[in-house]
């Protein structure tokens, strides 16, 4: 029988070797496929986010009620309170902070004479804001808007700087002439406003 003897004794070895090569190639191919599929799920890219933040105008005045009093013979004749912080944010470089008397005893203000702060143009008392000097919120004729922090301010000096600022001021009273002509004991509401010019 040459059935098996026809085979060279080396042939099985050749096929075995060939089989190994095919197997190696196959493994390599499968590995390549796997490698290619993995690359899809680990892809990267970048994104740049430009973040903007705009300051908002805000102001926070003292919450507590503040007492201040003056008599016609008081010494000193210009009393001032303790210092109180005003926290405010300028949104732009042209934002200012102002203050004005808006109500007295719950009533919107009209004129100093109507509310008992003045007898006339020459005889009255004032309520004001004190720093190095006093900026009055009224005279004998009218109520005044005081520039607390602005291009012409002498109280705070942060105008032109968009940011949040904290500065302290005092409240003051002064008398002109013979005063208001009667006793005065009322609540005075002062409104601080931050606004773009």
């Amino acid at each position: 029988m040459k059935t098996s003897t026809n085979h060279s004794p080396r042939r099985p070895l050749r096929w075995l070797a060939l089989g190994r090569v095919v197997t190696i190639v196959g493994v390599t191919f499968v590995g390549a496929i796997v490698s290619s599929a993995m690359a899809q799920f680990s892809a990267t890219d970048t994104q740049t986010v430009s973040i903007g933040y705009t300051l908002g105008n805000s102001v926070d005045a003292p919450d507590e009620q503040i007492d201040i009093s003056l008599t016609n013979v008081a010494i000193p004749s210009t009393p001032t309170t303790d210092e109180y912080d005003i926290t405010y944010t300028f949104a732009t470089s042209t934002t200012d902070l102002t203050a004005e008397i808006t109500q007295i005893d719950g009533n919107p203000v009209t004129s100093p004479v109507d509310h008992g702060l003045a007898q006339d143009a020459s005889n009255y008392f004032t309520i004001g804001l004190a720093d190095a000097a006093i900026s009055s919120l009224n005279n004998g004729n009218e109520f005044l808007t005081v520039e607390v922090d602005g291009p012409n301010s002498s109280i705070f000096n942060n105008y032109g700087s968009p940011a949040t600022h904290v500065d302290a001021l005092k409240f003051a009273m002064t008398r002109a002439g013979t005063g208001p002509g009667d006793n005065f004991d009322k609540t005075v509401e002062i409104t601080f406003t931050v606004a773009n010019q």
């Binding site: 705009t54 102001v59 503040i66 007492d67 949104a91």
Partner: protein, 199 residues
């Protein structure tokens, strides 16, 4: 959803959310208030006119002389406040109950008196004396119930009376010879005390 698409969508959301506060914060103005309990009170006070010298010549045909002595400054704390003046010392000595024992008085009909006048005072309507021939008198300059005593010791007494406030009023003093006047020449100091009082 593809992961990349999801990532992009999330990024878009973040950008949108970040943009919202910027829009809201761009408000034009903001305000806050503070409340002051403010009081102005008048308290009683008075400042006498400056010291002065005044004299009367016994040969003065009117036997009367008034002098503008400057401002009497005072404040009325209540609507019931009066302003008074009285002589408290003569020649450095506290006054007693009667002026008879002073150099000013010879007797009840003949003496030299000092008083408070106003700008309308005359010999016949001189004002309010600090003494007569028998007693010292307290002169009411401002009477809260009306005008100054008598014809009004201060010119503006009637408009000030009962009115809270601070005042500076021109004041006049006068000398007047009554009868034959005192029996001797006089050079002496008289102290006048001014008082603001709510009786």
């Amino acid at each position: 959803m593809h992961p990349y698409v999801a990532q992009s969508f999330r990024a878009a959301l973040v950008v949108t959310v970040l943009a919202l506060p910027a829009t809201v914060s761009a408000q034009v103005s903001a305000s806050d208030t503070v409340t002051l309990n403010a009081s102005f009170s008048y308290v009683s006070s008075i400042t006498a006119p400056a010291n002065l010298s005044m004299s009367l010549d016994g040969v003065n045909p009117d036997n009367y002389k008034s002098v503008d002595v400057g401002n009497l400054e005072f404040s009325l704390a209540t609507s019931n406040t009066d302003v008074e003046a009285e002589v408290t010392k003569i020649d450095g000595t506290d006054v007693s109950t009667s002026p008879v024992d002073t150099v000013f008085v010879t007797d009840e009909n003949n003496y030299l008196t000092l008083g408070v006048a106003n700008d309308n005072s005359t010999k016949d309507n001189p004002g309010e004396p600090f003494w007569d021939g028998t007693e010292y008198k307290t002169v009411t300059l401002i009477d809260s119930n009306g005008s100054g005593s008598g014809g009004g010791a201060l010119t503006s007494a009637s408009t000030i009376a009962g009115d809270i406030g601070e005042y500076a009023e021109t004041m006049y003093l006068y000398l007047q010879q009554v009868g034959n006047g005192p029996s001797t020449a006089i050079t002496t100091d008289v102290v006048i005390t001014y008082t603001v009082i709510d009786p």
